[in-house]
C-alpha cells in the first residue's frame, strides 16, 4: 500500500452547479456539489439513474462545462476552459475507461493504446504503449484487433489506453457493466493493481459490489452528495476474495 504523503487534494470541486433543459422544465443535474479526491485514492460514485452521477462524471472528465462553481485538477483550474484547451487537459490529465470499451475497430490493441500519445506528439509512443499493455497483462495480445479479443481483454486494452499517458486520474464509467461477474472481478483486480501503484481512480457505478471494492463511496441523489462511506481495507479485501 502506498502512503498518502501529499494531503492537498488532487481533484477539487466547489459549489458545482449544472442545469439543463428537459423540454420546458429546467432540471438541476448537480446542485452545489463539493468533492475533493486525494492522490492515490480509489473512489466510487454511486447513485440511481438520473441522480446526476453521469453529469458529474462528464464534468470530472472535462467533457462538459458547468453553470457555476470551480473545478481544479492537479493544480490546474479548468472551470473556464473550453474546446481545445479541455481536449488538452483530457489528453494529459485524464484516462477514460468506458462500459462498452470504446476501442477503435481496425486498429490493433497496440495502436489503440498508442492513440492518446499521438495526439500529444509523444516521442516514443510505441514503447510506452507496450509497457502499458504489459502492465494490464496483455503482452501477448498486442497485435490483435478488438474483434479478436474477449470482453475482458478489450477492457484491459481500454485500461492500458487510459494509463498510457500517465494521467492524474483514471475515470471509469461502469467498467464491469458489460462483463460477467468473473471477468468483472478480474478487471477490478487490474484497477486494484494500478491503484496500488499510486494511481488515482474514480469509478462511476450503480453496482454496490463494485463500490465496495473502493476506499470511499460517494453516494449521489438528486444532484447532491448524500453520503460518503469509507470502506476499510480488510473489508475490501474480503470483498475481493469473495468476488
Amino acid at each position: 500500500m502506498v502512503e498518502l504523503k501529499n494531503k492537498s487534494a488532487l481533484l477539487e470541486i466547489r459549489g458545482m452547479v449544472k442545469r439543463y433543459m428537459l423540454g420546458e422544465t429546467e432540471v438541476l443535474a448537480l446542485n452545489k456539489v463539493d468533492l475533493s479526491i486525494q492522490e492515490g485514492d480509489m473512489v466510487a460514485i454511486t447513485g440511481p439513474s438520473g441522480s446526476g452521477k453521469s453529469t458529474l462524471m462528464n464534468i470530472l472528465g472535462c467533457l462538459d462545462d458547468f453553470d457555476a462553481g470551480t473545478y481544479v485538477i492537479s493544480g490546474e483550474d479548468v472551470s473556464k476552459l473550453t474546446g481545445d484547451k479541455l481536449a488538452d487537459i483530457r489528453n494529459r490529465l485524464i484516462g477514460f475507461v468506458f462500459q462498452n470499451f470504446n476501442l477503435l475497430p481496425r486498429l490493433s490493441a497496440l495502436e489503440n493504446v498508442e492513440l492518446p500519445l499521438l495526439y500529444s506528439a509523444h516521442k516514443d509512443a510505441k514503447a510506452a504503449a507496450r509497457k502499458a499493455l504489459e502492465a494490464v497483462g496483455l503482452a501477448d495480445r498486442m497485435h490483435h484487433e478488438p474483434t479478436q479479443l474477449s470482453g475482458g481483454q478489450r477492457q484491459r486494452v481500454a485500461i492500458a489506453r487510459a494509463i498510457v499517458t500517465n494521467p492524474a486520474i483514471i475515470l471509469a464509467d461502469e467498467p464491469t457493466g458489460n462483463l460477467d461477474s468473473r471477468v468483472g472481478k478480474e478487471i477490478l483486480d487490474v484497477f486494484h493493481k494500478i491503484n496500488d501503484q499510486g494511481r488515482t481512480i474514480v469509478i462511476v457505478t450503480h453496482d454496490s459490489n463494485v463500490a465496495r471494492h473502493c476506499r470511499r463511496e460517494v453516494q449521489i441523489r438528486d444532484g447532491q452528495i448524500v453520503d460518503i462511506i469509507e470502506h476499510n481495507r480488510s473489508a475490501r479485501q474480503l470483498v475481493a476474495q469473495a468476488g
Binding site: L63, D84, A87, D88, R90, N102, L104, L107, R161
Partner: protein
Amino acid sequence: MLFWTTIKIALRSMLANKLRAILTMLGMIIGVAAVIAMLALGNGAKSRILGWVSRMGKNTITIFPHNPKIPPVLNGAAEPLTLGDAHAMLSIPGVKYVSPVVTSGDPVKWGTNETYCNIIGCASTYIIIHDFQVQSGHMFNDFDTRDRASVAVIGPETATRLFGSQDPLGHTITISTERFQVVGVLVPKGRHGWFDPDNQVLLPYTTAMTKLMGRAVALNHIDMQVDHAVDLTPVQNKAEEILRIRHSLIKGDEDDFWISNQLQVIQMANNIGGAFTMFLGSVAGISLLVGGIGIMNIMLVTVTERTREIGIRKAIGARRRDILRQFLIESVLVSLMGGLIGVAVGVVAAHYVKFRNFSGQVEPHMVILALSISAAIGIFFGYYPARRAAGLNPIEALRYE
C-alpha cells in the same frame, strides 16, 4: 507520426469498404481521365496546326491587298498590290526573297483527265520562301519568268490525279485554253484541312498574268522571306512605310493593305489552340465537380457512421484540428487516388483516341494540373464534412449508437 497513422487508418477503412471506395473514386477517375484526354486532344490539335504553319516556310511575311479593318464596301477604293509594290520590297534590308503571287482556280487537264487545284503564278523563289522541294525535274527559273515561258511545276497530288503512275515530266497540260509543259514535280508536304499544298500548279507569274488572267495587274498577295538573323517587326514596319508612300496614303488614312508575318500566325494559332484546349478542359472539368460532390456525399455518410469513433478520439484528447485534419486527409486520399487512376486512364485514352488526323499529346504539366485539382477537390469537398466531424459534442458523440 499521427499523420502516417491517419493515412494508415484511412487506407484500412477504404479496404474494408472496397466497393464504396471504388464507387466514390469513380467520379474522380472519370473526371480526371476526361480532363487529361481533352487537354491532350486540344494540345494535339494545336501542335498539328503549329507544325503546319511552320512547314509553310520560315521567317515569312505576306502582304495582302485588303485591310480587314476596313469594311468590304470601302475596299473598292483601295489601290491594288502591283508588281511595282513587290519590286519595292527588295530594297528593304534583310529581305532575302520576294515573290508576287497571283492565283486562279481553273481546271487543269491532261488528255481526258481533269482536276481542280490551286493555280499559282509566282516567282522562282516561291518554293524557297515556302520551303517546297522538287522531287523530279526542276523549278522554273528567272529566264522562264522573263520570257513568259509556258512551263509548270506541279504538286505530287496533282501529278497523281492527272497522270496516275506515269511520269508527268515533259508532258503538256492544259489550263483554260493555254498549254504548259510540266518541268518539275514537288515533294509532298501533307494535306491540312481545306488547304492542300500538294495539289497545286506553279507557273511563272508573268505567264499566268498574261495568259490566264487577261493581263491583270492586281496581285493576290506578295510573299517574302526575311533573313533568319533579322527581326521580322522592323522589316514589316519598313514594308508598311514604303507601301503607304507608294499608295499615296496620307497621315490618318488606314492602310489599304494588310501585312502579316509568320510569328503573328503562329501566335494566332497558339491562341486559338489554347482557347480550344481550355474549352475542352472546362467541359471535362464539370465532371470533376460531380466527382467532388460524390466525395462530399460519402464523407458526410462516413462522419455520421463514425460519430462514436470521433467521440472516443475527442475523449482521449483529440483537438478540433486533429479531427478536421483526419477527415481532410481521408477525403484528399480518396480524391488523389481517384485522380491517379484517372490520369492513367486519361493517358491511355489520349494515346488511343484519334480525332480526324490528330491524336492526343499528354504533357507533364497536365498530369500535375489534374493531380493538383484532385487534391484541391478533396480539400474543398471534404472540408464541410470534416468541419462537421470536428464540431461534434464529445458526450453526444460517445452516446451515439
